[in-house]
């Protein structure tokens, strides 16, 4: 279908573009910006007056819970959430049940996702079989099946010899290795940042050293193996400092942060709010400020939702017995906007963190930007409108988020995937 998106404020971070103009979609691709291509006749015109038109968001970490945890969420429910959130591409961590360690499983997931015809799915394969940290997964086969990188999700490898071999093997092919900096023994048995709040609440703590010790190890092993290392969900100022140091020494390492860690600290646990039980733990306000600054000046490459739907049974328990994680797909855009407003950076730079910069990490070239010929994955949102975060309003099956009850900026009006309108909030 040929679509004309008229009078929108077109923001394309990849091309540093922020200008009110028309955008033309044809054959599922971006046809032109500004003037209509020759012979273009629109079958549909979307009036985007007052709306921002930007690339569909790319979320570098969203758990859809399939296979294995369908009682918490299904591809259908979470794809709905993605569309409502303007998210058109998702990288999926491998901690499903069974984990994404088998080419057949990955193919099936991709097939299921494709049939739903909504967000594009980019599986991150398990670095080791069953995420057990013992035997390597069939990485080459997994890439053929659609995996874009390899990770251990939140299950650290205990045996550093295995980790080194896994990184070496991945480096053989130039595959990306995404690692969560969480030292296994230092994080074991802890539930909150080891600091004043955990001390007061009597919650067993996870020290910052759990992050830094793991980072030292990962950075050293990346150096000797030549693996392409990406650090997921940074949580501490010290951790960011180590990445900076490594870069100063010439290492090519990237990192991301979640919306939760960008906006919250351990203080938000309040009186044991299990919605704030997250991996990694929410750390101090000082850490949060460092992460916000790091994302602002580009030391942190991307912002992600770390979407992890948990059912109510998993959250309505004492803090330490609750399932970690929070829902986030529908909050990625609003929390990006909130951060941009608070740290006063232009929208075009803020949106880069969830579009072009995220695309680079996942290795997506056909989307994440608005150059003619790019996939017409688009998000049209009203920057002046707000959303009220409520259990009823969330489309995700996971209703658990520390942001419940808040009013956040930015309301998605349309989401297009390959030139098709997959979400339209026209009534609003």
């Amino acid at each position: 279908m040929n679509i004309k998106i008229a009078n929108g404020r077109v923001i394309d971070p990849a091309n540093e573009l922020d200008q009110v103009q028309d955008l033309y979609v044809a054959g599922g691709k971006i046809a032109a910006l500004g003037a209509a291509p020759q012979g273009f006749s629109a079958e549909r015109v979307i009036d985007a007056q007052g709306l921002v038109v930007c690339p569909g968001l790319i979320d570098v970490a969203a758990r859809l819970r399939e296979p294995g945890f369908e009682y918490r969420a299904t591809l259908e429910s979470e794809m709905d959430a993605a569309m409502a959130g303007g998210v058109t591409s998702l990288a999926i961590p491998p901690d499903t049940d069974p984990p994404l360690d088998e080419p057949g499983l990955v193919e099936m997931l991709c097939h299921r996702a494709k049939k739903l015809n909504r967000a594009h799915v980019y599986p991150v394969g398990a670095l080791t079989l069953g995420l057990k940290g013992e035997r390597l997964s069939e990485m080459a086969e997994l890439v053929d099946s659609g995996c874009v990188a390899f990770s251990q999700a939140n299950v650290p490898i205990v045996d550093n010899a295995v980790l080194m071999r896994a990184m070496q093997y991945a480096a053989t092919f130039g595959f990306r290795v995404w690692l969560q900096p969480l030292a296994p023994f230092l994080s074991r048995g802890g539930f909150a940042h080891d600091g004043e709040v955990a001390t007061r609440l009597g919650l067993p703590g996870i020290p910052t050293a759990a992050e830094t010790v793991a980072l030292y190890t990962y950075l050293q092993l990346a150096k000797v193996t030549g693996a392409r290392l990406h650090i997921t969900r940074l949580s501490s100022a010290e951790g960011l400092g180590l990445i900076e140091q490594a870069r100063a020494e010439g290492m090519d390492v990237t990192c991301d942060v979640s919306i939760n860690h960008l906006h919250l600290s351990d203080m938000d646990i309040g009186y044991f709010d299990s919605n704030c039980h997250l991996v990694p733990p929410l750390r101090s306000q000082r850490d949060r400020e460092a992460l916000r600054a790091g994302l602002r000046d580009g030391r942190i490459d991307a912002l992600c939702s770390d979407h992890t739907p948990v059912d109510d049974d998993g959250k309505q328990t004492p803090f330490s017995e609750s399932e970690p994680g929070a829902t986030g797909l529908e909050l990625l855009l609003p929390l990006t906007l909130k951060w941009a407003d608070e740290v006063r950076i232009p929208l075009v730079r803020a949106l880069a963190k969830v579009t072009s910069d995220a695309a680079r990490l996942v290795g997506i070239t056909k989307a994440g930007h608005l150059a003619p010929g790019a996939r017409a994955d688009l998000c049209l949102f009203d920057p002046e409108a707000t959303i009220q975060v409520s259990r009823r309003g969330l489309r995700s099956q996971g209703k658990n988020t520390p942001f419940l009850g808040l009013e956040l900026p930015g309301r998605v009006r349309y989401t297009l995937v390959e030139g098709q309108v997959m979400f339209g909030d026209e009534a609003a």
Partner: protein
Amino acid sequence: MHNPQLNKHGELQHLLTLDGLPREILNAILDTAAPFTEVAEREVKKVPLLRGKSIFNLFFENSTRTRTTFEIAAKRLSADVVNLNISTSSAAKGESLLDTVDNLCAMQADMFVVRHAASGAPFLIARHLQEQDRDDIHVINAGDGRHAHPTQGLLDMYTIRHFKGDFTGLTVAIVGDVLHSRVARSQISALTTLGVPEVRVIGPKTLLPTDVERMGVRVFHDMREGLRDVDVVMMLRLQNERMSGALLPSPQEFYKVWGLTADKLALARPDAIVMHPGPMNRGVEIDSAVADGAQAVILPQVTFGIAVRMAVMSMLAS
């Protein structure tokens, strides 16, 4: 942030922690407890304040001593008491904490006394009751994980006030495993709220929680230095599973360095009192000569504990 243990009039709805509780409420509980100490000396040790009320002792973690003192307190107030050892019943069958609570609410419970191994469990129950608009049901925290043991903290304050009269000139030392101790956290909250100018914690770095000084205490690792000129020594129980491994090399070494002996106690003020929440490990954290000595007030603590628990129950129910 709304303090979930106070109702909208600022009155005590639940007793979950002493942290953040106003000084007036702490004093009111101690004042209310005073006359209850006399009930125990009567021939009929009962008052009819809670007649017809049902109190459920919900113990998800084993405890004979605390449960018994709550039971005695409730019975002296003429309440009906039901003891539930959940570790051996529903939870073992997979029932969730809140399902258990809902079932007991359906049995017309008026008060829950909750002990749970997870920090914050009584808050979960209190929040659940609030969501159901059950402000007629009250929760008393009888110890949650490492977090709080407010009635123990209160009975300790009662004991200190009984023997020392006033809080505002005291130096108090808390000795031992602060890291795992809900008792220590409640003591620190109460002492700092009641105006004790110097609260000290003494122990090895492995048994003191991170940033504990932010709770308003001075940290000492040297026992002799920490005990110098204190008015009150509050010993903590060292649990068996902490005595060896990565936290401490051995109970013998702990005793040698941090065990309370007569010669170490001699550094405190001559009229200093020695407290312990029980049960004691003689020869680990405290020497028998001290535990049974003239300065120990460990048995009065137990007696006052019943009066303090009666005070809390009667205040919540009224």
